[in-house]
Structures are given as structure tokens and as C-alpha cells.
């Protein structure tokens, strides 16, 4: 294709990549060397990881990725256009067809659906706005939510909750301020009475998220100072002693992971902060990043220096504009104060951080898919082995933890690994963040030590909105499972979960009251997995579609054969996805639906049809296989 970029597209790409150096890589004018020198080739291919930021630049400049703009990026980075197109069409936030500069992404996922998302969509559509229904935007505590994706000079921003007034204002003026995580996002942290004893949330509500000085005044950078003074071996021992387990769902011991990276002889090493929080119902990492961004950067710095990395990445989901802005600011401030750079804190260690934005793909929260995305490829998961600690980002040993896991490190260094191990239970140490949403009185992020019961967690958020027992609780996210009202006294620890066949997943506690339509919820979950499957392997690509079709047939009463036949079919589909999919997404795509059928009797299933006590793996247990 022969199209070239518009002036705005060219400027946006040049701002990211710098001006082209020769006609070879896209300069308009030839320099005197041009006929003898060709720049590009291997050097440019080494910049392949800039493809995703470059596509963001195009999307932001024109509101879509035009053939001309894409050609220019391909020239600059020596990427074949077919491959760049394959990458662009992988992400929900990119469009390869022209569309208006403003697009409204209205969340119609589990929590927002219960809070009237359909009405918002209808109202906006009747007003000619370009509206797309979006998977969970991670604003469940203030449902319903929407995200305004804008091109040109304006930046993206979120609105939550979308009240009638806010909606009318949006339609009338087209603008609003950013939806800031305020008191209602972490009710515990903003109230003097309940903030005593908080560890992970202790700065939230107290610290100015834009000020590095205020962060230091609240104990910030103490943990990094300790880590640098005592050295990596000490830090590693503290992390190991703390028995901290990953909070992404896999519950992999952090100390073991860090040690494995540190000991790899191959250099360089990389450390990635997984901030691609996209599990429906999950918003804890967002609240932390928005309210305490320096903590994330400090913890990543400790992780990087301890594991022998000089470069770290924060991979944040594209739908988090405010968290992105605050983290970018935090990184700049840290760099300016010498807390990042060639000589961190004057201790001789070099470490710097780069932030990369995703573009709308749940699968990129899977660690190997995240690496591919960051490398400028389609976000398709890789087969394991090799594991990331052996060959991860750019084929090098890589440590990767999510935001919550990382900020636990600050706390465990502050109080000492052994003291930290005394919190929670023997097998599940430390505090834990829970995302309360749905029909609870005060939704938001709550911190509790491991070992708390589900009932206690719900009660701490003010209990069920109608005052009665919930009809069901979705525990762990869409990749988790439903828990019935008879099981509210389950203890929330890794060991209890493993034994009881449920999962803590990403800490989602979504409560469904009396009026909830659980078959509709199941259908939405099935739809979510169908939309978010990367399409690489057959079990997940086709299985998620067949699962949704079967649920539609059950809901509509148009079954092929009897209901029992359909339930058996669903179980067959669930089994192949769980057994044979490449990654955790496919392996867990049937968990919630299967648990609803087995333990809640949705669609006429029941205990008799249950999976006979078979433990359902979590999304990220799968990652460690």
C-alpha cells in the first residue's frame, strides 16, 4: 500500500521516535549521505517494542490507525505492514477504520450491568455518540462507569459513577473532570476509625499522590534505603522469610521467583510490574496506583535492584488514564530526585523504569502475553516452559509481579520478613486487598489479613445492600467461581481455597443480592471470555464460542436435545478448555459458569451434576504449570 501519513500522524510518531535520519526510514528530504547510507535494518528492528507506543501515537493523533500512518510507523521501525496490522487489530482500543475522534466506552460488565449500564448505552446512542460496550473498566466500586477515548489534543478520561446529571452534562458539554478514586474507593482508608492498622492502604487518603516529598514524609523510600544499605542478599532473605505469595492469583512464592531471576547467569535481567489489571470486578491495583503511585515505583525499584536488573517496565492497562498519568509523573519525579537512574540513591546501583500502556486486551495480563505485547507483537501467550525467570521479556530472565504483590514488599521490609510472616495464617501470610462490589452497602477496596472469612469481608463493607443474605458471591473474578449463601464462612486463605475448590483469584468479592439474574451474569461472563480469547489455540478460540452458544440456548429454552444434554455439552467444553488450552485464560474460562451450574443450580444444574469435588484451577495457578 502506498499511502503516506498526515502531518499530525507524522508529528505524533516523530515525537515518540525522534525525527527520521534518512530517506530510508521515512525522512522527506534527502541528506547528503542518503545515497550511500541506509539507516534502519537491524537497529530499527531492535526498536520493535516501540510498535505499540507508536500505534497509540497514531490512534491518539487521528482517532484511528490509517494506512498512511501505519506505513510510516512500519518504515520507521522496519516492521512488515501485515504484522503491524495484525498487532493493531488485536487491541480493542485501536481502530483500523475511520471513526469520530471521540468514542465512549461504556462498561457493561458484571458490576456496571447491575447498575444500569444498558440505560447509559441507550441514552448515549440516542444522542448519536459513538458508543462501544466495553468489558470491565475496573471502576466497579462506582458503577456504572464509562471511558472517553479521545483523539487530538484531549486526553482520555473516565467517568464514574455515571449519574443522570453527569450523563446529561456529558451530552450537553462533552467534558468533565477525571473520575478520581476518592473516599468511596477505599472507605477503610479514608476514615480515621478504620484506618488504624492498615498496611497496604495506609498512605491512601493521607498522602498527596503527586508529591514525592509528601510521600517521603509518610515513610516513602525508607524501604528502598534499607534495601540499598543492606544489599540484595539481605533483601532476598527478608522477602523469602516473609513467605509472601503472588497476589495475581497464582500464589507463587515471591522469594523463590526473585531468587531464580537473580541467579540467572544470562544478562540483562528485566523486571516487570504487571499493572494490566483487567479481571472483571478487580480494581485494587488501580486505586493503589492512583492514590499511592510512588509506592509502586519504589517497590519496583527494590525488586529490580535485588534481582540484578537495570531496567524495569510498568505495563498498565490502556483503560486507566488517571493511574497512567500519576505513574508517569511519579517516574519523572523519582528520576529527578535520583531515586531512578544510573546511580540510585547514590549507592551505585543503576535502575530505570519505563511505562508502557496496553490497548484493551485482558489476555495481556497473562505474563507471557504481556511480554509479547511489550515486545510489539500480538499479545498471544507463549508455551511454558521456558518460564519467565529463564526466558521472559526479550528472551531474557525476567521477574514479574503485579502491583499488590510489589507493594507488600515495602511493608515486609519495613517491619521485617519474619514479623510479616506472623500476619495472616501459616500458609497465607500478610494482608490482602479485596475488591468489594455489586450489592454491598459500601463498595471499594478493603484490606484484611489472610484468614478472614468471606462473611467478615462482606460485613466490613456494610453488608448486603438489602440487608439479607446474598444470593451468590462471585469470588476471585470471572476466572474465579461463585460461592453460594451457604458457604459464606469459608476462610480466605490459599490453603483453604485449594482444599475447598474455590479461588481467591484477584481478590474480587462481587455480591449478588436477591434481585440478581444469575443466568444473565453467566452469559456475560461467557461473552467476556469469548471476546477476550486471543484466538491462538483451538480449545479456547472455539470453546469460548460454543460455551456462549450453549448458554444462550439454555436461556432461550431452545436446547439441542434436553437441558441435561446441554449441561453435559458445557461440561465437555469446559474440560477441554481446562485441559488443553495454552494459557490460564482458556484454562479458567469455564470456571465461573461451571461453578454456577454446580453449586447454585443455575440453568437447572445442581449438586448432583457437580464436578464431584474436583478442584477448579485459578487463572494463574495455570500460569505456573
Amino acid at each position: 500500500m502506498q499511502a503516506g501519513p498526515s502531518a499530525a500522524e507524522r508529528a505524533a510518531v516523530d515525537e515518540l521516535l525522534g525525527p527520521p535520519t534518512s530517506a530510508w526510514d521515512g525522512a522527506l528530504e534527502r541528506s547528503e549521505f542518503d545515497h550511500r547510507v541506509a539507516r534502519g535494518g537491524a537497529d530499527a528492528r531492535g526498536d520493535r517494542d516501540l510498535l505499540l507506543p507508536a500505534l497509540h501515537a497514531l490512534q491518539g493523533a487521528a482517532g484511528w490507525i490509517s494506512p498512511g500512518g501505519m506505513n510510516y510507523v512500519c518504515e520507521r521501525l522496519t516492521v512488515p505492514p501485515a504484522e503491524a496490522y495484525g498487532v493493531a487489530t488485536f487491541y480493542a482500543m485501536f481502530s483500523v477504520e475511520e471513526r469520530p475522534p471521540t468514542v465512549v466506552h461504556v462498561c457493561d460488565d458484571l458490576a456496571c450491568r447491575r447498575a444500569g449500564a444498558e440505560t447509559v448505552i441507550d441514552r448515549l446512542r440516542s444522542d448519536d455518540a459513538t458508543v462501544v460496550a466495553s468489558p470491565c473498566l475496573g471502576l466497579c466500586e462506582r458503577a456504572p462507569a464509562l471511558l472517553l477515548q479521545r483523539a487530538g489534543d484531549q486526553v482520555d478520561s473516565a467517568l464514574a459513577p455515571v449519574t443522570d446529571d453527569a450523563l446529561e452534562g456529558l451530552i450537553r458539554d462533552g467534558v468533565w473532570g477525571d473520575a478520581d478514586a476518592g473516599p468511596e474507593s477505599a472507605p477503610q482508608a479514608w476514615e480515621a476509625a478504620s484506618r488504624e492498622g492498615l498496611r497496604l492502604l495506609r498512605r491512601i487518603g493521607a498522602v498527596d499522590p503527586s508529591s514525592i516529598d509528601d510521600y517521603r514524609a509518610h515513610g516513602g523510600y525508607e524501604a528502598l534505603r534499607l534495601a540499598l544499605e543492606h544489599g540484595p542478599e539481605w533483601t532476598l532473605r527478608e522477602v523469602t522469610d516473609s513467605k509472601l505469595m503472588g497476589r495475581g492469583g497464582a500464589a507463587f512464592p515471591t522469594g523463590v521467583k526473585w531468587k531464580a531471576v537473580a541467579e540467572q547467569p544470562v544478562r540483562p535481567h528485566y523486571f516487570v510490574c504487571n499493572a494490566d489489571e483487567s479481571e472483571p470486578g478487580t480494581f485494587k491495583d488501580r486505586v493503589v496506583m492512583e492514590q499511592d503511585p510512588f509506592a509502586v515505583i519504589e517497590a519496583l525499584t527494590i525488586a529490580g535492584i535485588t534481582t540484578g536488573c537495570e531496567r524495569g517496565y510498568v505495563y498498565i492497562r490502556g483503560e486507566y488514564p488517571l493511574a497512567t498519568e500519576r505513574l508517569v509523573h511519579a517516574i519523572e519525579e523519582a528520576r529527578r530526585h535520583g531515586f531512578l537512574g544510573d546511580d540510585v540513591f547514590g549507592h551505585g546501583a543503576a535502575f530505570d523504569v519505563e511505562l508502557r500502556r496496553g490497548a484493551g486486551a485482558y489476555i495481556c495480563g497473562e505474563e507471557t502475553a504481556l511480554f509479547n505485547s511489550l515486545e510489539g507483537k500480538r499479545g498471544e501467550p507463549r508455551n511454558k516452559p521456558p518460564f519467565p525467570v529463564q526466558r521472559g521479556l526479550f528472551g531474557k530472565p525476567t521477574g514479574i509481579n503485579n502491583v499488590e504483590t510489589l507493594i507488600n514488599v515495602l511493608e515486609l521490609l519495613r517491619i521485617g520478613g519474619r514479623a510479616y510472616a506472623g500476619i495472616g495464617t501459616e500458609g497465607s501470610t500478610g494482608p490482602r486487598l479485596f475488591c468489594l462490589s455489586g450489592d454491598v452497602a459500601a463498595p471499594g477496596v478493603y484490606e484484611h489479613p489472610h484468614g478472614v472469612t468471606l462473611r467478615e469481608v462482606i460485613d466490613a463493607s456494610g453488608g448486603v445492600r438489602d440487608g439479607r443474605a446474598p444470593k451468590a458471591v462471585l469470588l476471585g473474578g470471572a476466572a474465579g467461581g461463585f460461592v453460594g449463601p451457604d458457604r459464606l464462612d469459608v476462610r480466605l486463605t490459599f490453603e483453604d481455597a485449594r482444599e475447598g475448590g474455590y479461588t481467591l483469584g484477584s481478590g474480587v468479592v462481587m455480591v449478588f443480592g436477591d434481585s440478581a439474574d444469575l443466568s444473565d451474569t453467566c452469559l456475560r461472563i461467557a461473552r467476556f471470555f469469548r471476546d477476550e480469547s486471543c484466538g491462538q489455540c483451538v480449545p479456547c478460540r472455539v470453546g469460548t464460542v460454543r460455551q456462549e452458544e450453549a448458554l444462550h440456548r439454555l436461556v432461550q429454552g431452545r436446547t439441542l436435545g434436553s437441558r441435561a444434554d446441554e449441561l453435559a455439552l458445557l461440561e465437555d467444553v469446559a474440560r477441554v478448555m481446562r485441559d488443553a488450552s495454552i494459557c490460564g485464560l482458556g484454562q479458567t474460562a469455564a470456571n465461573a459458569v461451571q461453578s454456577a451450574i454446580a453449586s447454585l443450580g443455575v440453568f437447572g444444574g445442581g449438586e448432583a451434576d457437580a464436578l464431584e469435588g474436583e478442584a477448579v484451577p485459578t487463572r494463574t495457578e495455570a500460569q505456573e504449570s
Partner: protein, 340 residues
């Protein structure tokens, strides 16, 4: 990305032998071998779709999965390297279930009738019943699948029919057609177009999830893309989604008849590389050209001249009617297996 040397003298140091147990029988394979190698060494028939001996395994189809002791999920045999002491089972209920379902998923969404005899045998052996997901969806309008946005839900119009990929054949050049109703998304053509053979990168996987498809940039016709018409994508396609235009047209008018075809092996005369050609001939006309995948020079891959530049052979024959008749007599029925 290294393609293992095929047919050539292996220029590698001797490798340690590992002991792997496949279905209870111990077998010895060299270090670096895959579970599939071990299965084959043990004469265990393992279905494969996206695997090819001359391409890097992508293990996307998952039909070759096996059970490995200690592993929570099933493991793709084609790409997982064997480890000493590994215990592999290939005939358990779990393995059979996954293999059956994978083939049912594909057969319920993709036209599979032109896959090779092995695939038909496996489908029978694993008792594949794709119809249990409902009738197959009728053909979608042209380009509909090329324009689907990722992550934007397409509600099933009728959940009693199984969503499929049926669509019109793409015919945009003289040499070959792309019939994506037959595409199982095995990634082989992308690999052959890319680093495994041609390094042209004219096609890639675009879109996401069930809407993922093989595409040029912006789904432009092949002649506006980087395609150099080597036809190596046709050479590796396991389902007939990519096909010589001559074959496609003969199939359309009903004259394609593999029983009547003979295969003549020769060396491509265009340059000095020495690529081996297999000329598929029906009624004394060359209808298709392939190269053996285990040929040391080609690894099964050719260029546009070797694959499509055979017209001169026919025109010479046209000029000499005696030669044509003699040739026809000699070749007819001379080969047992007329096709690959």
C-alpha cells in the same frame, strides 16, 4: 526458528540419550527431541494439524496433546522437549477427550473435507461428532470477517447453529486462491511466508479470538501486498484453504480427479539451486507443483518460478502432438500415490 536439517548429513555433536516412557514402553531419544519424536520412535500414532516437519512448531491446534506425569494440564507433544525420566500417556480418557473435542470444534466451524487422509482417519478413530454443536452456520458476506473489531461482541444471531467461518473464496490473482472457509488457523502459512521460509511477511494473523484470521494489511488484495507468489503458503496448508487457482477451478467444474493424476519428479531448470519438483499431472496437463518437504535443498519450499512457471512445458507439448500422446501413455498409472 532453526529448521532441523532434513535429509542432509547432520552436522551436530553426538547427543545424550534420554529415557522416556510412552504408554508404558521405555524409549530412548536424543536430547532435544520432542515428545512427538518419542511417540513416533515408539510407533504411537499421534494426530497433528498445525505441526509440520519443516516448520517451527506453534502448537496452536492442541490436537497432539498428551498427559505427562506431574503436569496439571495436558502438554503439546509437538513442541515440548522430552526430559529424562518423563512418563507420557497418549491414550488416556483425558487425552482422548481433548483430541476429540479439538477436532469437533474445528469440524463444527471450518470446512474440513479437503484435509488429508490422516485427518479423516483420526476423525473416525476419535469418533468426532461436530453436529452436536448444532448445524453449521451459513456463509457470511464477503469481507464481513475481515472487518470485525477485537473485543466488540458479536451476539450469536442464532445460537442453535454453530458459529463458523464460512465465507466466499478470495480470488484476486492468477496463481492461487484463498478459501478461508477452510482455514483452521494453524499459522503454517504465516510461518512459511515469514522466518521459516520466505521472509516476505505478506500475511499475518489479524483480529482476535474467534474472529482471528489470516490477513494482509487492511485486508488488501494479494497483488497490493508484499506477496511474491512463491506459493509456499499453499505448500504447507493442511486443509486446502490455499490452493492453486488451476486446482480450484477444476474442483469447481468437477474435473479435478486425483485418481487420474500422476506425479513426475524432476529438478527445476530455472537456476542452479537444484530444487526438486513434483509435477502433478492430469490429462497430460500440469495441474499443481509441489516439492517434497524432506528434500535437502527445498525443505518443501519453492519460488514463484519453480511453483508456477511451468506453462512453457505445456506449450511445447501443444506444438508436438506425437510427443503429447506418447507422454500421456507413459505417465498414466505409473505412480501409485498420485498426490501428497
Amino acid at each position: 526458528m532453526a529448521v532441523r536439517p532434513l535429509g542432509a548429513v547432520p552436522l551436530e555433536p553426538p547427543r545424550r540419550l534420554l529415557t522416556v516412557t510412552v504408554d508404558g514402553a521405555e524409549t530412548r531419544v536424543p536430547e532435544g527431541a520432542t515428545i512427538l519424536d518419542a511417540c513416533r520412535a515408539n510407533a504411537v500414532d499421534t494426530p497433528t494439524l498445525c505441526y509440520a516437519d519443516n516448520l517451527t512448531p506453534v502448537n496452536a491446534c492442541r490436537v497432539c496433546v498428551v498427559e505427562v506425569e506431574g503436569s496439571r494440564t495436558l502438554v503439546p507433544a509437538c513442541s515440548r522437549t522430552a526430559e529424562d525420566g518423563m512418563v507420557v500417556s497418549t491414550d488416556t480418557d483425558r487425552v482422548r477427550h481433548s483430541r476429540t473435542l479439538v477436532m469437533e470444534f474445528l469440524a463444527s466451524s471450518v470446512e474440513m473435507d479437503l484435509t488429508n487422509a490422516d485427518v479423516h482417519r483420526w476423525m473416525a478413530e476419535y469418533e468426532v461428532h461436530p453436529e452436536r454443536f448444532g448445524a453449521q452456520m451459513p456463509e457470511l458476506p464477503a469481507d464481513e470477517r475481515d472487518r470485525r473489531d477485537p473485543g466488540h461482541h458479536h451476539e450469536p444471531l442464532d445460537p442453535t447453529v454453530a458459529e463458523g467461518v464460512a465465507q466466499p473464496v478470495k480470488i484476486d490473482n492468477e496463481l492461487y486462491v484463498r478459501d478461508y472457509s477452510r482455514c483452521i488457523l494453524c499459522y503454517k502459512c504465516v510461518e512459511a511466508c515469514g522466518v521459516d521460509a520466505q521472509n516476505t511477511f505478506a500475511i499475518a494473523v489479524a483480529g482476535r479470538g474467534f474472529d482471528a484470521r489470516i490477513s494482509t494489511e487492511y485486508a488488501v488484495p494479494l497483488d497490493e501486498s508484499a506477496c511474491v507468489y512463491c506459493g509456499n503458503c499453499i505448500g504447507v496448508c493442511p486443509t486446502g484453504a490455499l490452493m492453486f487457482r488451476s486446482e480450484h477451478e477444476m474442483r469447481e467444474d468437477g474435473s479435478w480427479d486425483e485418481q487420474q493424476q500422476t506425479v513426475t519428479n524432476t529438478i527445476c531448470p530455472y537456476c542452479g539451486v537444484g530444487c526438486e519438483l513434483e509435477l502433478h499431472v492430469q490429462d497430460n496437463e500440469i495441474v499443481k507443483v509441489t516439492s517434497p518437504w524432506d528434500h535437502s535443498v527445498t525443505n518443501g519450499h519453492l519460488c514463484i518460478k519453480g511453483r508456477f512457471g511451468f506453462a512453457y512445458v505445456q506449450s511445447r507439448r501443444e506444438d508436438d502432438p506425437t510427443r503429447r500422446r506418447a507422454g500421456a501413455r507413459d505417465r498414466r498409472g505409473s505412480s501409485e500415490s498420485a498426490s501428497d
